[in-house]
Symmetry: C2
Subunit: 203 residues, 2 copies
Amino acid sequence: VLATPIARLVQQLAKLPGIGEKTAARLAFHIMRAAPEDAAALAAAITEVKQKIRFCGVCCNLTESDPCSLCADARRDAGLVCVVAQPQDVVAIERTGGYRGRYHVLHGLLSPLDGIGPEDLRVAELIRRCADTSVPAAEAIKEVILATSSTVEGEATAVYLSKLLRPLGVRASRIATGVPIGGELEYADQLTLARAIDGRREM
Amino acid sequence: VLATPIARLVQQLAKLPGIGEKTAARLAFHIMRAAPEDAAALAAAITEVKQKIRFCGVCCNLTESDPCSLCADARRDAGLVCVVAQPQDVVAIERTGGYRGRYHVLHGLLSPLDGIGPEDLRVAELIRRCADTSVPAAEAIKEVILATSSTVEGEATAVYLSKLLRPLGVRASRIATGVPIGGELEYADQLTLARAIDGRREM
């Protein structure tokens, strides 16, 4: 009963993650009712992003320029690299305003059950960066912060990478787990609380 | 920290209904990782829908051809019109397979609090259809089914339209409210149950 162009748009929108058939229809009808310039801007933004965005040759983040602005920024500490699963994580860490090192984006996490192994991630690129002897000693990577999520996949990926990094003489560290700031002990889950106690620090 | 084309896409996606900043970022990163032909197909579908889809001159539904395929279908009863709030509702009713009349799409519901009055909806078009004396008697509208939702706005819109239709000699009916098929009485809310009892039918 839907006209072909509408059905086609619904079908394309339903390919997006977390967008089901009904949500896709709602979005499609919104687009049809939207101002023509808004719809044109959306279509143009999709096209532009595919044309202009590539992977940074250093950190593998998505970028318009290669190397990306973060890798090209000489004021950032080249000896410290924060490894994250996805580009959104770089945005989240940059938002804290406290980190002044570089990044490496894996584009996923190890997940044997889903058939995702190291060769599907930007692991080889990370090892190559850490083993690179052609850079001046001041710019050599001294520490890698494994900032993958505190999930089964995130932990497994961190453990895997730390084992690869050790023989290279690079220090591997893991972001802290514990009770979130502002979080009530009463509402923290058992595992988080147990980890927070294990990970206690002198003050 | 996001490259301009990425930021632009996130911003455009965040304009869609129910899509917040974080979901928009997730969709944007998916599009960047997607196959180029998938992204191109999405952009093309958006452009195509704006170029090809218009309002049906009869029922105001979104359509590629004017009049739309439902209004052009001579096998459907022209004397019976089902009034709905939005194009998705036509899809939902057609999916039942039981309705053989025509439609009228209001493109919204009356909502004084949101400043949505009759002039913002396709009300004048409905009245014109019902008052049209130029059509053969066999095709004149005899009954209008008010199939707006069972919400405050839906009820208000139905009451408003029924008052406009009465002087035109058109019968106005309202879809039934009651316990959903397969629904347990135990879990039905009080109002639905009270309405279901009030609306009881002899059997």
